[in-house]
C-alpha cells in the first residue's frame, strides 16, 4: 500500500495544478512531486510558449506561496540578482552620525586608540540593515517558503550560472561581510530555458531536468477547455487538430500552446460557429508570427480544415 501512495500524490499534484488552470501532463506532475520530495530545483526546457513560466505561477498559486521572479538577461550580475549594499544609505548615515562618532572617539588620546575604539563598535555599516536583498536573497528569507522562478537562464552569462550553484545545491548564499545565509524554508526553484545556449554541466547536475514539448492533442484540448471556457466542444476539437496539422509544417516558429489559447480566444470573440476557411485566413496572424510562415501555411489551409473536421466526425 505504501508503494501506491506516490502515484496518488502525483495525481494530487495534477489536480492541484488543474485547479489553478494549469493542465499538467504526467511527466510534469512527477517532476513537481519529486522536486518537493527530494528538494531539488527543476530545470524546464522547451520551445517558447509551452507554459514553462506558467508552471511556476501555477505551483505558487496552488501552494499559496509567494512567487519571486528573476528575469535573466545578458549582463545580469550579483548586484542585481543577489544583494547590494545600500551605498547611499551608508553615506547618509555616516554623515548623520558624524557628531556621534566624534563624541565616541573624542576621548581617545591617539589615533591608534581611536581606531581600537572604533573596532569595538563592530562593522555597523556592513550589517544587514544596509543590505538590499535582490530576488535570490529575498527568496531565501521568506519564512513560509516561496516559489523562485529564474526565467530564461540561457539568456544570462556563463558566470552567472556559477553564482547560482550555491543556491541551487544548498539553498544558501555567502555574503563575505555577513557570512552564510541559509534559507529559512527551502524555496521551490524553477529554472526555465529556451536552449539558446547549452547550460553548464554543473548547473544541470543540480537540477531535475524536465523537457516540455508541444502537448498531445487530447491534452491540448483540455488546456484550451480550462483556459477558454466559452468555446464550444466542436470548435475546440477542430482548432486543436488544425494546429497539430500546422505543426507538421516546416516553419520558422511553430505555434505553441500560448498561441493556441490566444487563437481560441479570438475565435470566441469573433463568434465563429466552426472552423471556416475565411475565419482561419483572417486570423492566421494570431497563430503565426512570421510573414514567411503565413505564406507557407496559406495554401494548406483548406486541406487542414478538411482533415480537422473529418477527424472530428470519426474521433
Amino acid at each position: 500500500m505504501a508503494e501506491n501512495r506516490p502515484s496518488a500524490s502525483i495525481e494530487a499534484v495534477e489536480s492541484g495544478l488543474a485547479a489553478q488552470g494549469y493542465i499538467a501532463s504526467r511527466q510534469i506532475a512527477t517532476a513537481v512531486y519529486l522536486a518537493q520530495q527530494i528538494e531539488k530545483p527543476i530545470l524546464v526546457e522547451g520551445p517558447a510558449g509551452v507554459g514553462k513560466t506558467e508552471l511556476a505561477k501555477a505551483i505558487a498559486a496552488w501552494r499559496g506561496m509567494k512567487m519571486i521572479r528573476l528575469q535573466c538577461y545578458e549582463g545580469l550580475d550579483e548586484a542585481k540578482a543577489l544583494y547590494e549594499w545600500k551605498y547611499a544609505k551608508q553615506l547618509l548615515y555616516t554623515q548623520i552620525l558624524k557628531d556621534k562618532l566624534g563624541e565616541v572617539l573624542g576621548g581617545a588620546p591617539t589615533l591608534e586608540a581611536a581606531l581600537n575604539q572604533l573596532h569595538d563598535f563592530g562593522d555597523v555599516f556592513f550589517s544587514k540593515e544596509f543590505v538590499e536583498p535582490r530576488p535570490l536573497l529575498q527568496a531565501l528569507e521568506q519564512p513560509a517558503g516561496c516559489v523562485l522562478l529564474i526565467d530564461e537562464i540561457d539568456k544570462s552569462d556563463a558566470e552567472f550560472e556559477s553564482l547560482l550553484l550555491e543556491i541551487l545545491s544548498d539553498f544558501q548564499v555567502t555574503i563575505p561581510e555577513l557570512g552564510t545565509i541559509v534559507a529559512v524554508a527551502p524555496p521551490t526553484v524553477i529554472l526555465t530555458s529556451n536552449s539558446e545556449r547549452d547550460l553548464g554541466d554543473a548547473l544541470k547536475r543540480r537540477c531535475l531536468h524536465l523537457h516540455i514539448g508541444f502537448p498531445e492533442q487530447r491534452l491540448e484540448e483540455r488546456i484550451v477547455e480550462s483556459r477558454v471556457p466559452g468555446i464550444s466542444q466542436n470548435l475546440r476539437k477542430q482548432m486543436v487538430s488544425f494546429i497539430h496539422e500546422v505543426r507538421t509544417l516546416d516553419l520558422k516558429k511553430l505555434p505553441s500552446v500560448s498561441e493556441t489559447i490566444d487563437w481560441a480566444r479570438v475565435l470566441v470573440l469573433l463568434q465563429a460557429p466552426e472552423l471556416g476557411h475565411e475565419v482561419v485566413k483572417d486570423t492566421l496572424n494570431v497563430l503565426l508570427k512570421y510573414e514567411a510562415d503565413i505564406e507557407a501555411t496559406m495554401p494548406q489551409v483548406s486541406t487542414f480544415i478538411a482533415k480537422a473536421s473529418r477527424q472530428n466526425v470519426f474521433g
Binding site: 501512495r5 506516490p6 504526467r26 511527466q27 512527477t30 551605498y87 552569462d157 556563463a158 531536468h209
Partner: protein
C-alpha cells in the same frame, strides 16, 4: 533491487548518458520516494533525474525499455517456445505413452535436463538470469566476448551434466534424447539472445570508444569512403570539445589597475565618491584565421576535414577566411558557410580541385587578391604537402605573409621523413613559418587547431 539499479546505471552509461555519482544518488533518492510499483512513473523519474538533454532522454528511455524488458523474455523466445510446444504437442499426440515413459525416465536426469523437459519457461528464464549474474554478464564490453559469456552461462546452468545425460539417453531412449537436443538448441538460442542484449546494454560505449580511438589515429587521407560519415561525426565531437574549452569570456579584469575614467562615471550618482570601482581590463584578441588549403590529390581529404573543423568553431573563431588552391587559388568561405559539408566540398573540388598543385602561382594569386585580409592579429594556416612539382615555390610571398601576420602555421599531412625529398619545398617554406607540424590524423588535427586557438587566450 539496489543491485538492479546499479546495473541500470551502468547500462545507462553504456547508452551514452553521462551519469555522475551525484546524479545516481539523486535517482536513488527519487526512486525511494516513488517506488517501483508503477513502471511509467519510474521511467519518468529516471528521465528527470538522470538525463539532462533531449538526446540523453531518448537514449535513456530506450535503455530503460531494453533493460526492464529483460527479466521477462518476451518476443524472441516466444517463437522458439511456440515451435517447441508444437513439436511436443505432436509428440504427445503421436506417442503419448512414450511421453509418459520419458517422464518416468526423467527422474534420473540432471536438474537442467528436467527443467528443459518440463518446459517451465519461468524457471528456465530465472535460471538464465541467475547464471548470467554469476557469470557477471554486465562486464561484457566487446562483441568478441559473446562466445565466452554464452559458454560461461551455459556452464553455470550445468550443461556438462546435460551432455552426460544426453550421452546416456542416446542409448536408452533416443526419442527423449532428441527432444532434449531440440530443447538444448532452443536454450542456446535464448542464452545467445540474452548475451547479445547485454552487449547492447553494457558494451555500446566501449565499442564506440574503441572505434573512435582507431579512427582518431587513422591517416585522414587514406580512410575509406564509408568511414567519411563517421569521421565527420568525430570531427564535430572534436569541434564541440574545443568550443567548450575555448569559448570563455574574452575580457578579464585586471585587479590592481584602476580604470579612473570608468570609475568616476560609474559613481556619478554618489557625487563622485568611489563606491564602485572599475578595473582596467585586458582584452584578448578573437582568433582571426586565414586558411590556405591545398585541395589537390591526397591532401584534399585532410583539407576537407580541416575546413569542416575550423568552420564548426563559430563560437570560438568567427573570423575565418578560407581559400582553396591547387593550380590557382579561390576564396571558399561563402561556399562553406552556406552549404552542407558534402555539397560544399564537391563545389570546391569542381572549382579549384583540378590540375597539379602550383604553390607559387597560388601564393601570388593570394598576394594580389587578398593580402589585405591579413592583419597583425591573423594566424595564417597553410595546409599542404608543399610539393610544388618543381615549379617556382615563391617563398618570398610566404615571407611577406609572415611579416604581416601574427603567426604562420604550416600543417603538412606527410611525415617528417618525407619533407625535403623529391619536389617537396618544405625546408624552404619552413624558415618563414612560426610552426610546422605534421597533420595526418584526426588526433593531430585536433592538437593543431587547439594550439592555434590557444595562442589567442
Amino acid at each position: 533491487m539496489r543491485e538492479n539499479l546499479h546495473r541500470f546505471f551502468r547500462a545507462a552509461r553504456g547508452a551514452g548518458v553521462r551519469l555522475s555519482p551525484a546524479e545516481s544518488i539523486d535517482a536513488m533518492r527519487a526512486v525511494s520516494k516513488v517506488g517501483f510499483a508503477d513502471r511509467t512513473i519510474l521511467r519518468d523519474t529516471f528521465l528527470l533525474t538522470l538525463a539532462k538533454t533531449q538526446d540523453e532522454k531518448k537514449a535513456l528511455g530506450d535503455c530503460f525499455d531494453l533493460f526492464f524488458d529483460q527479466p521477462e523474455p518476451q518476443s524472441p523466445p516466444e517463437d522458439g517456445k511456440a515451435d517447441e510446444q508444437d513439436s511436443s504437442g505432436s509428440n504427445a499426440a503421436s506417442d503419448s505413452p512414450g511421453d509418459s515413459s520419458g517422464d518416468e525416465q526423467a527422474d534420473g536426469l540432471g536438474q537442467l535436463a528436467q527443467m528443459l523437459l518440463a518446459q517451465d519457461r519461468n524457471q528456465i528464464s530465472a535460471a538464465i538470469a541467475n547464471a548470467a549474474s554469476a557469470a557477471s554478464l554486465s562486464d561484457i564490453r566487446y562483441f568478441t566476448q559473446r562466445g565466452i559469456f554464452s559458454g560461461r552461462i551455459l556452464d553455470q546452468m550445468g550443461i556438462q551434466r546435460l551432455r552426460d545425460d544426453l550421452d546416456n539417453l542416446a542409448a536408452t531412449n533416443p526419442a527423449l534424447a532428441e527432444r532434449l537436443t531440440n530443447a538444448l538448441d532452443g536454450l542456446r538460442g535464448t542464452v545467445r539472445d540474452t548475451v547479445s542484449q547485454a552487449l547492447m546494454l553494457y558494451g555500446r560505449e566501449e565499442a564506440e570508444n574503441l572505434r573512435n580511438e582507431i579512427l582518431r589515429n587513422a591517416p585522414l587521407s587514406r580512410i575509406e569512403p564509408r568511414q567519411v560519415e563517421q569521421m565527420r561525426r568525430l570531427i564535430r565531437q572534436i569541434a564541440r570539445r574545443l568550443r567548450e574549452r575555448y569559448s570563455k569570456p574574452r575580457k578579464r579584469q585586471r585587479r590592481g589597475h584602476l580604470d579612473v575614467r570608468r570609475t568616476i562615471r560609474r559613481n556619478a550618482a554618489w557625487g563622485g565618491v568611489p563606491f564602485l570601482t572599475a578595473w582596467k581590463r585586458r582584452h584578448r584578441d578573437k582568433p582571426k584565421i586565414v586558411a590556405l588549403c591545398d585541395v589537390s590529390g591526397s591532401v584534399a581529404r585532410v583539407s576537407d576535414f580541416f575546413l569542416l573543423l575550423i568552420h564548426s568553431l563559430h563560437e570560438v573563431v568567427d573570423d575565418v577566411r578560407s581559400f582553396a588552391f591547387s593550380g590557382h587559388l579561390i576564396e571558399v568561405s561563402d561556399i562553406l558557410e552556406s552549404k552542407s559539408p558534402e555539397e560544399a566540398m564537391a563545389e570546391i573540388m569542381s572549382k579549384a580541385g583540378f590540375g597539379s598543385s602550383d604553390y607559387g602561382n597560388s601564393f601570388s594569386d593570394f598576394e594580389h587578391g587578398w593580402m589585405s585580409a591579413i592583419t597583425p592579429q591573423t594566424t595564417v594556416v597553410v595546409l599542404g604537402d608543399a610539393r610544388s612539382n618543381n615549379l617556382d615555390p615563391r617563398a618570398d610571398i610566404l615571407r611577406r605573409i609572415a611579416e604581416r601576420s601574427k603567426r604562420v602555421v604550416w600543417l603538412n599531412p606527410e611525415g617528417r621523413m618525407a619533407w625535403g625529398w623529391g619536389d617537396s619545398e618544405m625546408p624552404r617554406y619552413s624558415t618563414f613559418c612560426t610552426v610546422v607540424r605534421q597533420c595526418a590524423t584526426a588526433k593531430q588535427l585536433e592538437r593543431a587547431v587547439s594550439d592555434i586557438v590557444a595562442s589567442y587566450q
